[in-house]
Symmetry: C2
Subunit: 202 residues, 2 copies
């Protein structure tokens, strides 16, 4: 097993993915990602993008192809992936898929201290989350269908949407069920511990 990966920011994955299509300069990457609404998948901020590109270049995954000057605009450096970079891209992809990495979603941390909210507030909050998730899912589903129809894309091209929808649905299910259990009392609120802690007195 290797000592931690040189390149680790997921945005680098997006950059590599784009460069498989054709050489680009950073600004074009940014614009393309936004156009394709991939900024819901990769957290995109301009500063980070330029840093990421630089880091990829340092590590030999990509290299400056040309420095074009269009009219009198500031010159843009166009990058292309290297052969080495292409291999790394596939290996990294492969590893991310194969090995589930620990992630730390905010909601999980909040659930850990759900007790602190007390039953009423917790139930309310979970219900609201449920409603918001429902809306979100509806929007995603509509967006997905629209894209599929207008562009007649094969399913594989939107597969990440299917995954996102599946996971959102699972979360919705859990939130609703937890809210219901609080209402009906199936999920009891132990009196002596408003904050999770379970200290034994011994």
């Amino acid at each position: 097993m290797a000592g931690r990966r040189k390149v680790s920011n997921p945005l680098a994955l997006a950059v590599m993915g784009l460069l498989q299509e054709k050489p680009m300069h950073p600004y074009e990457m940014s614009a393309t990602l936004r156009e394709r609404q991939m900024d819901g998948v990769f957290k995109l901020s301009t500063g980070t993008l330029y840093d990421t590109v630089e880091s990829l270049a340092r590590n030999g995954w990509i290299e400056p192809r040309s420095t074009v000057r269009d009219g009198n605009r500031p010159q843009r450096t166009v990058y292309a992936h290297t052969e080495h970079g292409h291999g790394q891209f596939l290996d990294w992809l492969d590893e991310i898929v194969r090995v589930p990495a620990p992630e730390y979603p905010r909601f999980l941390s909040a659930v850990t201290y759900l007790g602190a909210l007390g039953p009423e507030r917790a139930e309310e909050a979970l219900t609201e989350r449920g409603d918001r998730l429902q809306e979100q899912i509806t929007r995603m589903r509509a967006g997905l269908e629209e894209v599929m129809e207008t562009h007649a894309l094969p399913r594989l091209f939107m597969i990440e949407m299917e995954y996102a929808l599946h996971m959102s649905a699972a979360e919705l299910e859990w939130a609703r069920s937890a809210a219901r259990e609080i209402r009906t009392g199936t999920l009891a609120w132990p009196a002596q511990a408003p904050v999770a802690g379970g200290e034994d007195g011994s």
Copy 2:
């Protein structure tokens, strides 16, 4: 609605949670979190912990209570939450639960470029993920039952485990189903695009 939150690292939530129980010094927090296996929920590293505590103090959520010197060991600063901090803690908790925030799980980014792996490699990788997830779920379930039985805790105290299990199960389901769809051909691999984006060979 407020301009972005001052304190934003989830580890701060853990710190606040612990301080609801009793005043502590950072090292004790770290030890306690590890003992309770909460380091699976909050990403814990010593450096970050000290930074986080300092930031909480700067923002008035907590304050140094005493500077104890035990024997001749380096003196430890014990912190307690302030009233303001307690309120912020609850509000933050409440907001995290109510409002689903966009998260960027690594697997989602990888799925976006699943096409690049080609059908065989993708199918294999998804299958392996499935197996690993299955193991992980078994381990979590066993751990959960053990804790519940030996400590006789109310369900609420391990509710985050139930959530984690639910989500892992959903992911497992998806991975298995996607792998199956690739095998059976239900999820087709468009020939002209090994990488999402439609590279033409011309």
